[in-house]
Structure formats: C-alpha cells, structure tokens
Symmetry: C2
Subunit: 539 residues, 2 copies
C-alpha cells in the first residue's frame, strides 16, 4: 500500500502552519518545536547548522529566496490532511491504539490503492511487452498456458511498432498509438482526428502543465477556471505567475454553468487589466461531477469564439458517466465539429488520461491531448518542449493504446474485459448513490448527485462555535472539520477550501472508491463522527 513518509522536521512545520501562512523571518522556532526536531540525525544545539537552517540565515537556498511562484503554489489533494493520514497509518502499523482500525484515503482518485482490480487484459499485454521472450514462437505454447492469444498478439503488434519498451520513443508519442487514439476519437465523435495533432503525455496533468506554460506569455495573462476546480490548475497558474480568472458553478443548479457567469468573470478580469486567453472546462467536473448538456457546450464554444479565448477541455472522466441516458458525455470536439464550417479554425485542446474511468492506471502516468485549430508554429513549439523531456514513459503510452483500443466482441478476452469493466462501473454507481444518501442524511449537509467523475462534494453548514474554533486554530472551517474527521475515523477527505468555493461556504470532496465490503463501516463512521461534531459545537 502506498504510504507517505516525511521527516519529523517538516511534518512538524506543516502542523504549525496553516496552508495560508508561509515562512517568514519573524518565525522563531518555539522550544517545543525544536524538541520535535531532535529525532533528525543532527544533535540539538542552538548554534547548530540546523537551528540556523530554520531562521534561514546560513543556507544558500531557503524558502525566503526560492522561486516565489513555486512557494505560493498550493495543492490540497496531497497537503496537510494527506500527510497526517500517512502518519496515522504508520502509527497503526506500529500497533498504536486509535479510534479506528484503518485509514481510508478518500482524498484522491486512486482506485487501485483501494483494491479496485486492474483490467486483466491490459496487465497481460503490459507483462508480455516487458518480457518479449514470451512472444517468441518457440515459447508460444508455454505462453498460452498463462496468457490468452489476443494478449500475445497485441503485445507482438505493439512491440513491432515500438521496438523496446526501454527505448526513448518519438517525443510526441509512438505513431502507431497516436493513430489508434485518432481512430478512437473518430469512432467516439463521428468526426476525423489527425494523429499529428495528438500528443501523448505522462497523465493529463503533464499535458495541462505543458500547454498552460505555452499560453502564459506574461503575468497579465488570465486563464478562466471553474470554482470549484481541481487544484492542479491553481497550482500551475501560481507557478507560471498567471492570473486565475474564476467563474462560479452554481451549486443550486446542479453545479450548472452559464455563459452570463463566464462573461461576468471575463469582463471583471478585463477591468483589472487581465488579458484572458483561455477557458478551462472540466467535463465531467472535478470535484463537482456534473456533465454539460450539448446546448450548454455550444454556448460555451460561442463564448470562446466571441471573446477570443482558447478552450481547454479536461475530459479525463469521460467514461465515468452514471446517468448515460439523461446526462450523457459529449466531447467538445464532437460538439465543435457539429457546429459546422463557421467554426473552422476554432482553437481548442482536449485532454484525456488512463488514470480514471474503469482503467484506473494512475501510477503509470499516461494520457494524451488533442489540438484542434492550433497553428503549426505552436504545434512545432509543443513538439520542441516535449522533446526536452525526451518522451512520455512507454508503458504509459501502451496503456493509452489499450484504453482506446480494448478487446472487441468476438475476441478471446472480450467477455472477461466486459465483465470487469461493467462490474467496476456498476459498483461505482452503487457506491456513489449510497454515499450521496449518507451525506444528504447528515445534519446541515446537502450533496448534489454526481453525474460523472469519482467524487461527491457535499456542502456542510457548521455551527458558529465550530467556525470560531477553526479560526482560533488558524484553519479554514472545512479544513478544521476534515482534520477532526480524520483524527476520529481515519477517513481522509480534501477540504472544499482546497478547490475554491463561494465565500462563506464550506465543503469537502470525497471519492466513492472505498472497497464495497468496507462501505457500510465507512458510511457509519462518517455519520457517527458528524453527529458528534455537530453536538460538540452546537450553538
């Protein structure tokens, strides 16, 4: 099981400081703080190099003279709560007696860390490409004792186009795989896709970071982001010294998005001298889980065209769709192309990933983005920047191929593939529903249905006493609530303040990924904690 370990010293720092306070020269380490640091390998002494570290007076590189944009960036998904949850996991492993038997990580969409089984065919192919001995004709009979014939054939075909999985590939991604991605897009949308406009990446995150960096010319540039949003965006914009231009999703309308709100956001930024160049849409939403309607998407495209902003369509949850009849997924590519020749040349980038859906191969770091309407000099620049990092890891590329080109009906592995896929899918729907009901049953808590993605994002309405206690502890109220939940139940969420929210509201994001067999225990743990918390701080 993945476990986070940090040195006692910097865990201690994080506990002392909320995410909103940064190191300042006036921070004098307290006696108790210094005591906590004696577990590091240096002897404790007020004149030691370590003491001077903390005041930043002797080191060449400190938090005071490092890259400020990097220092300001925040990423709550693996922030304070996640770090504390790992400490608790370690304590449990050492036999400590805590109010709970296990730590449950609901802070991150990491299905295979919560026992979701990988798709068998995909792992068989990956296994074979690692060790091509198995693909030799003389070993076929032996290989067939373990692997189905279609996995063997697929591995052979891939290696024919790749050579060795240990060699650097084309910096844009293996051409054969990009061709398969193009075919997948065409089949999904009914419109042509061009492999030369497709770039394979190490997860969608890497693609987002690369393309945002390309677009952010200077610190006047603004990028529109949804509130709430997945904090990769705010963190990346912070590092780039760009301006997040927030537009609010409407919780009372199922996290709906209006072009009036987009325009308001754009115009307000313009008044501040911000040069807004792109609009990030996460569809299905993260953390909010809503799926956009086609009509809404056409309006968004028109907004972009009129205001000359590039559309950045984060579509990594496109197969996590739980109401496929009422709220199906439409790709922005398809909607754009169906709007006809007047929209020829519209600039857009669409992102996809192997980390989500039923695939869940997060740790492999694979994905792609497709450019639409970008001029060739930009494509050339994207290629150049990709080449500096040589190439995306080849196993990640292979999983992209498998994701877009899975077993087909009639093939030996199809039945098992379909069963595994459907089992995960229906299990997700079921767990989402149970957890949504649980949240809606909590005092002062409301939770929108998740049309898609992997998360629920309930709103909590905390008593004034709780809010006061939070502020006294130097924390946002939802961070305070989540920390209390973690300490009481072992369940690790992410506070809504990490995603952005309407001022004065409080939320948290929870995945619905915990194992089905533990789900009941998980839900009752939350119910009991919440009741206790509300009673403790009742006005």
């Amino acid at each position: 099981m993945a476990s986070l370990q940090c040195s006692p010293a910097y865990k201690s720092i994080l506990r002392q400081l909320s995410t909103h306070h940064l190191h300042t020269r006036s921070l004098a380490p307290s006696r108790s703080f210094l005591k906590n640091t004696t577990s590091i390998s240096k002897p404790f002494s007020t004149t030691s190099a370590y003491y001077r570290d903390m005041t930043g007076t002797n080191k060449i590189l400190t938090s005071k003279n490092m890259n400020e944009q990097v220092r300001k960036a925040e990423y709550a998904v693996r922030g304070e709560l996640a770090i504390r949850s790992e400490e608790l996991k370690n304590e449990l492993a050492k036999g400590a007696k805590l109010p709970f038997k296990r730590v449950v990580g609901c802070n991150i969409g990491n299905p295979q860390a919560l026992d979701q089984k990988p798709i068998t065919f995909f792992r068989q192919v990956a296994s074979l490409t690692e060790y091509p001995e198995l693909l030799k004709d003389e070993n076929r009979q032996l290989a067939l004792k373990i692997y189905p014939s279609d996995a063997i054939d697929r591995a052979k075909l891939l290696l024919k186009h790749i050579g060795s999985v240990g060699a650097y590939s084309h910096s844009q991604g293996i051409p054969h795989i990009r061709e398969n991605v193009a075919k997948f897009i065409e089949k999904r949308d009914g419109f042509a896709a061009d492999p030369s406009k497709i770039f394979l990446t190490q997860g969608a995150s890497a693609g987002v970071q690369l393309t945002l960096q390309m677009i952010v010319e200077n610190n006047k540039v603004g990028i529109m982001i949804p509130i709430p949003q997945y904090p990769l965006y705010t963190a990346t914009l912070s590092v780039l010294d760009a301006n997040p231009v927030p537009y609010y999703l409407d919780e009372s309308k199922g996290w709906g998005l209006t072009t009036e709100e987009l325009q308001r956001s754009f115009d307000e930024a313009a008044k501040k001298g911000i040069d807004t160049r792109a609009l990030v849409i996460i569809n299905p939403g993260n953390p909010t889980g809503q799926c956009l309607s086609e009509q809404n998407m056409r309006e968004i495209i028109d907004f972009c065209k009129q205001n000359r902003v590039i559309l950045l369509a984060d579509e990594v949850y496109q197969t996590n769709i739980y109401q496929p009849e009422e709220r199906p997924f439409h790709s922005f590519k398809k909607v754009l192309k169906s709007m006809g020749p007047a929209y020829e040349g519209f600039e857009m980038i669409s992102y996809h990933s192997i980390s989500k859906g039923m695939v869940g191969e997060c740790g492999r770091r694979g994905g792609y983005f497709e450019c639409e309407g970008m001029c060739d000099s930009i494509l050339e620049q994207i290629y150049k920047i990709s080449s500096i990092s040589l190439c995306p890891n080849v196993q990640g590329q292979i999983l992209v191929d498998l994701m877009v080109n899975p077993p087909q009906k009639g093939e030996p592995s199809y039945e098992m593939y379909k069963k595994e896929y459907d089992d995960i899918y229906f299990s997700l729907i079921k767990r989402a529903s149970i957890l949504e009901k649980t949240f809606n049953g909590l005092e002062g808590c409301t939770c929108n249905t998740a049309d898609g993605a992997m998360y629920l994002f309930p709103q909590i309405r905390l008593p004034k006493k709780a809010i006061a206690a939070a502020h006294a502890a130097g924390k946002e109220p939802d961070q305070f609530y989540c920390m209390a939940m973690l300490e009481a139940t072992g369940v690790c969420m992410v506070a809504g303040s990490g995603f952005g929210q309407v001022d004065g509201t409080a939320h948290f994001r929870s995945t619905f990924l915990p194992q089905p067999e533990l789900f009941e225990e998980f839900c009752s743990g939350i119910k009991n904690f919440h009741a206790g918390f509300m009673n403790k701080y009742r006005d």
Copy 2:
C-alpha cells in the same frame, strides 16, 4: 523501431528556418512553401484559415504571443537533424533509393533503440509486477517454467511494498525503494544516506527541471553550466528566464576543469549584475566524457563553499567508466563527506538515472536525486511540487530499485546478470575505442578519449569554403557538416553548436552505440563522407 513523424507543414517550417531564426510577422510564406502544405487536410487557398495561421493574424495563440521563454528554448538533440533523419527513415521504408541502406541515430543515448538488449532479470521482475497472477502460490510451478525464482521473489517483495503498479504512489517515491537507494549510496560511498532526502523522478531530467525551478527566484539568477553541456540545462534555463553562466572545459587538457575558470566565470557574471546561485557539474561529462579527479572535486567543493553556490551534480553516467583504474568515478557525496565536519551543511543535489549505464531503460523514465544540506523548508517545497504531478511512474521507480539492488553473488540470476552487464560494458569500451580512432584518423579532426559516458565529441576544422557555404545556408558550420553527413550516409549526429563550444570551433557529438555488427560499415561510411566533404570544399 521508434520513428519520428511530423506533419509536412511544420517539418517544412524547420527546413526553412535555422534554429536561430524565429517566426516574425514579416515572414510571408513563399509559393513553394505553401505548395508543400497542401498535403494537410485543408484545401489550399490564400484566404483559408490555414493561410491566416501562417501570418499569425487570426489565431489567438501564435508564436508571437506565446510564452517567449519557451519559444527561445532550444534542444538540438531532437532538433532539425533528428527530424530530418526520421523523414529519411520513412522514405527508406517506402522504398526510396538513397545513398545508404539504413538511418543510424547517433544523436541520442538510446541504447535499446540500437538493439542493446535489456538486462533480463530487470524485465522479468517488471513483467511479473505487471501481472501478479503469476505470483500466486498456486501458479508458482507454472511461473518457474518461465521466470527464475529470485525474479519471482523480488516481484513479490516489491508488490508487498507497492500494492499495485497502477496506483499513485507516495509523491516522493515508494519508501521501500528510497530505502534501497539510500543503501546503494551508502555502499558506494561509505557514508550514510537518508531516504527522506531522496526523491524518485521520471528520469534525471525531471529532477533537474524541478530543482532548477526551485532555485531560480528571478531573472537575475545565474546558474553555472559547463561549455560544452547537455542542452537540457540551457533549454531549462531559457524556459525559467534565468542566466546561464558558462564556464569552459579545456579541450587541450582532456576537457579538464579548473577553479580559476570557475572563478572567472562567476566574477564576470557578478560584474553583469547576475546573482549566481548554483553550479552544474556533469560527471562523467556529457558530451565530453571526462571523469573528474578527487582533487579536482575537492577544489570544486571549496569553490562552491567560498562563493556560496549550490552544487548540482549530474552523475547519470557514473557506471559508464572506461578507465576504472586511471580515471575512476567518485561521487560528489563521497568526496564531500570525506572532507570532514567543516563542510557540514554544504548544499548539494546529486542526480542519477536508469537511462544510462548498462541499464539503458530510457523509455521508462526513472531516476532520483539526493539532497544534501538542504534546509527542511526546501525539502517540504520539493515534496509539494512533486505532489502536484502526483507521483513518478511506478515502473520507473521499480527499475530504480533493480538498478541499485541487482542480483547478488549466489543468487540464481547473478551469473546471467553479470554476463549481460559485462558484455555490454566491454562492447562499449571496444566501440568507443574504434570510433575514437576513426575520428582521429579524419583530416583536420581530433578527438579526446572518452573516460566515461556514451559519447565522443570530436573537433572538426573545416575549410573556409565550407564555412562560407554554411553561412550562406543560414547554418552554423558544424550543423551544415552534420546535415551533409546525414544526407550522404544516413548517420545522424548532433552539431557541437547545440552543446556550446569555444567561438570559432566546430564539433559534433556521436554516441558509440550503433550495433557491433554494423560498426565497420558505420565507420567507413563516416570516413568516406568526410574525405568527400573535405575535397568538395577544399580551399
């Protein structure tokens, strides 16, 4: 085999422009250029969206308003020559008659693309971790028909600590693997290493980019880099808008490095108002291949201490050592620690990778860096930035484990491991020697011996007529020479101008990785070409 494919349009752009000219508004596409672009999917028309693309007047994002630092960055290793070599490869595949039978990529250290075999044990373990069915007790007999028992046991041990290779891991890297890296470092150096100061990365490149970004506070910051250097450094500094502070290696002294030259470089930068904060040392050197002596390394450490610069030690070629008695590898960590307690707190980062050595698993993207003397707030920031990208890919982490913890004497796979390792090693030494002799036998060409790494970096002295022809073509002389070599022989090098060199000199970098069985043909092709080129342009 990996192949580069770019759309005809932007390949055409690259052919038209040297690496030193960038798009300007005054660039009017010539008729022939536009003709070349009709192979894309749009119909040709002067009023088409595509035409407007090229003049940049209609697109939101163009090379004129993109991030300028990104635009200025250059990376010759996969630049114009590499792109042209891929075109030629495609033409050969389609049956074109060219002066050569095959394209030979000597531009990049990518051993497994040139048929270097992967280490069998490593691939066996990777294969097993992908498909844990094989590790079940009930399948052991079957698994043992294919895999040795120690590979099975290692895969089991790794998965015990990892869970699933498809899950996000700890953002700093799997703790068990970091512990093994620490043990490797201790064994290598004789001094303790701390797993909490070690960060696993997607290749050393990713670690270099992350740490440089941390250090570059503003555009006054300077980072010292060797000339010649591996252009990851100049490209990264360009993107960060930082100042490269060049120090010259002395070709007449086996690419030696003096602290006088370091001081000269530092002082000259200071006069320009540059705030130099770090020194990059590549040891063994790339492209130059020299190994530093211990004495030299102590002087370098003293230089850093006196001038308050952080030492960044790129040691990815530490096992590519071809004169282990006369010019062995010493790690900077070991040398630092052996200098005693007066150097306690010295700030340094050391980088390593799975891409080089006898491992050659470039496409997997794995490596690590070890921090020494960095203050805890910085380690915390490094952790934070790592967490935004979630984690390095898990198979890359597994290969780091295998690299630092290979089969030991007495274990079932040891003999085969040792044989494979030694075969590659001695073959590299042999090929380096043959190629060095070849280069030294060329008219006007001298080439230093490679103590280490994977490259030779000969100096060529071209006739004035050739230099004039180069300038007329808008190219650096060595770029012109390399392009001619490529068109004549199919051999792709990287021009010295891509690495930096003393003004007025010309070099090229060649790997010595082409397959042994083709080596004779490869060397005679170069000899014939060179003789022809020198004759053609003889003054």
